[in-house]
Amino acid sequence: MADFEPKIVSFLCNWCSYGAADLAGVGRAQYPANVRVVRIPCTGRMSPKFFLAALREGADAVWVSG
């Protein structure tokens, strides 16, 4: 279990967290590579469908950030 690397599907708002992720990249910040980013136009676009679809396809967790 020690080497378990989870797949985390993250839904990031274009204007908030996606910007933050971009900035983190520009600043060469180090962070775990377990997150797979899906950009959504706004957190309001988030729907329970997305989240269930991600889990069904085998994601270990879903992270929504605005």
Partner: protein, 282 residues
């Protein structure tokens, strides 16, 4: 019950005769024992079809969506709350409706006519919350713990919960009777019929079945009145109210909200208030 039927017929006849409404949406005796079916009466000759007894489980608000004519509708407590929901969601206008309110003492189970339906046992709104005319005096409201069954599941562990719902949904054949009986499920294209992208598989895979019930319940969050139409429509006798009831409880706990009590206020997931709870967010 006889008196209710008489009064319903009397009001309906008057409304049809003087042209207040074009049709009356009510119940008539079904072809199967212990079940009444919905019927739309358009002329006073058919007025004697209308009945009222403890088999009127169907929620008639289901037949209001996008109607253009002026109708009278027979409404129990739960139906009247769903009528309010339809008005809020602009599916019908209040002035198109003449609501014949029926104070309801609960519907009985299909299999056992001496026992009330589970949702009727814990009903807090037996009297219609909106009506133009009542057929009888209001009945006394009961105050019981509505969420006993929800609390029982909440107390379970993660695996136990998963197994519980697995067993619950085992017999589901995806006939969609629950969504057809539901007065909230009126989307022109339901997510289960969408194929591009396909959100949920169309087969009997347990995960697909669970996804369907989960999403359907979520679509009803803050709108469900726990009328029990879904459960009574299920040919397999699945109690899918375990899903909707949980969300109903959450809406009550977090937003102090009960669906359909008036026709102005929009449901909590539809609005933003500064004091909305946000403990889930980091």
């Amino acid at each position: 019950m006889e008196a209710y039927t008489e009064k319903i017929r009397e009001i309906s006849e008057r409304l049809l005769k003087d042209g207040t409404v074009e049709a009356v949406i009510g119940y008539r005796k079904g072809s199967v024992e212990n079940s009444n079916e919905p019927c739309i009466v358009r002329s006073s000759e058919k007025i004697n079809d209308l009945v009222w007894d403890s088999n009127c489980r169907i929620n008639l608000a289901n037949y209001l969506t996008n109607r253009k004519d002026k109708v009278a509708i027979i409404a129990k407590g739960c139906d009247s709350r769903n009528i309010n929901t339809q008005i809020i969601e602009n599916k019908i206008k209040r002035d198109q409706l003449f609501i014949i309110g029926v104070p309801c003492s609960g519907m009985t189970k299909k299999e056992d006519s001496s026992d009330l339906q589970e949702n009727c046992k814990v009903c807090h709104h037996k009297n219609p919350v909106v009506y133009d005319e009542l057929v009888a005096a209001e009945v006394e409201e009961t105050k019981v713990d509505r969420y006993e069954d929800v609390k029982k599941i909440e107390a379970m562990g993660v695996e136990e919960k998963w197994e519980f719902f697995k067993d619950l949904l085992e017999p589901c054949t995806r006939c969609y009777a629950c969504k057809n009986a539901c007065p909230l499920c009126y989307c022109p294209t339901c997510f289960v019929d969408e194929s591009k992208p396909q959100w949920v598989g169309k087969g009997m895979d347990p995960i697909d079945v669970r996804t369907y019930h989960f999403l359907r319940a979520y679509h009803c969050a803050g709108r469900c009145t726990d009328c029990g139409a879904c459960e009574s429509a299920c040919p397999q006798g699945i109690n899918m109210r375990h899903f909707t009831k949980k969300l109903e409880k959450e809406c009550f706990d977090q937003f102090a909200w009960e669906a359909g009590l008036n026709s102005e206020e929009r449901p909590p997931l539809d609005t933003f208030k500064l004091d909305d709870p946000q403990t889930f967010i980091k």
